[in-house]
């Protein structure tokens, strides 16, 4: 990969760093808990 492409790759990763290093919002854990509980309830 040439230096320009490598530089673009480095900067691209920095653009998404913020999202990638955030803890997953709690809504997703709650959602999965709810789905699991629903399934337990129907068994």
């Amino acid at each position: 990969m040439d230096p320009i492409q490598r530089a673009i790759g480095d900067k691209l990763r920095m653009v998404y760093d913020e999202v990638l290093h955030q803890v997953a919002p709690e809504r997703f854990a709650l959602l999965l808990e709810k789905l699991e509980a629903q399934e337990r309830g129907t068994r």
Binding site: P3, I4, Q5, R6, A7, I8, G9, D10, K11, L12, R13, M14, V15, Y16, D17, E18, V19, L20, H21, Q22, V23, A24, P25, R27, F28, A29, L31, L32, E33, L35, E36, A37
Partner: protein, 186 residues
């Protein structure tokens, strides 16, 4: 909070990457979160079709992408504002060169979605070309071509014809790639 089954915990671990991929497809981070939510619901209800030991991340990316495309077809248009997410990320990068990153965010928003997803999957989310091709339902050669076109287009949009124009790191690379006689102190 109750303890989640292993499959749910594994999916939860992929959420940051799913959010980044969702955001790259277009729309705000809140639109990406809605996409991730739908992805998790579908993945949970179809989890028996996931083969343990295979690539969960790629499987989830595929569901998210299909969900996005299905929504887009239903709406008959691009969802959200088509890639403006990258342009709108508000936290400035703490490193020097943050202006270049801001410019890259604007440039990313100008790429066709197929090129943006390709370059994000391979360049940001660490997919191999084979994995990215499987996620996007394309052949490997097409994926390589999309990634290359995206990088070239970004270089054009950022006016990066000369590595010396891309900040301190670029200057270092320019020195490294120069003929020996042009290196400082030689």
């Amino acid at each position: 909070m109750t303890e989640l089954p292993a499959f749910a915990t594994d999916m939860l671990r992929e959420v940051p990457r799913l959010r980044a991929f969702g955001a790259s497809l277009g729309g705000s981070l809140s639109a990406a979160d809605d996409l991730v939510q739908e992805t998790l619901v579908k993945a949970w209800s179809h989890r028996t079709s996931f083969i343990p030991g295979t690539n969960l991340r790629a499987w989830l990316f595929t569901i998210l992408r299909n969900t996005y495309r299905s929504q887009r077809r239903k709406l008959g248009r691009e969802i959200g504002d088509d890639g403006r997410f990258a342009e709108r990320l508000s936290t400035p990068a703490p490193q020097h060169g943050h202006l270049e990153i801001l410019a890259l965010r604007v440039a990313l928003a100008k790429l066709p979605v197929e090129q943006r997803e390709a370059v994000v999957l391979v360049g940001v989310l660490g997919c191999t070309y084979e994995e990215a091709a499987a996620v996007c339902g394309a052949v490997v050669g097409t994926m390589k071509s999309r990634v290359n076109r995206a990088r070239r287009r970004l270089a054009q949009l950022l006016d990066m014809a000369n590595p010396s124009e891309i900040g301190p790191q670029g200057r270092d690379l320019a020195v490294l790639s120069a003929p020996m006689s042009e290196k400082p102190g030689v």
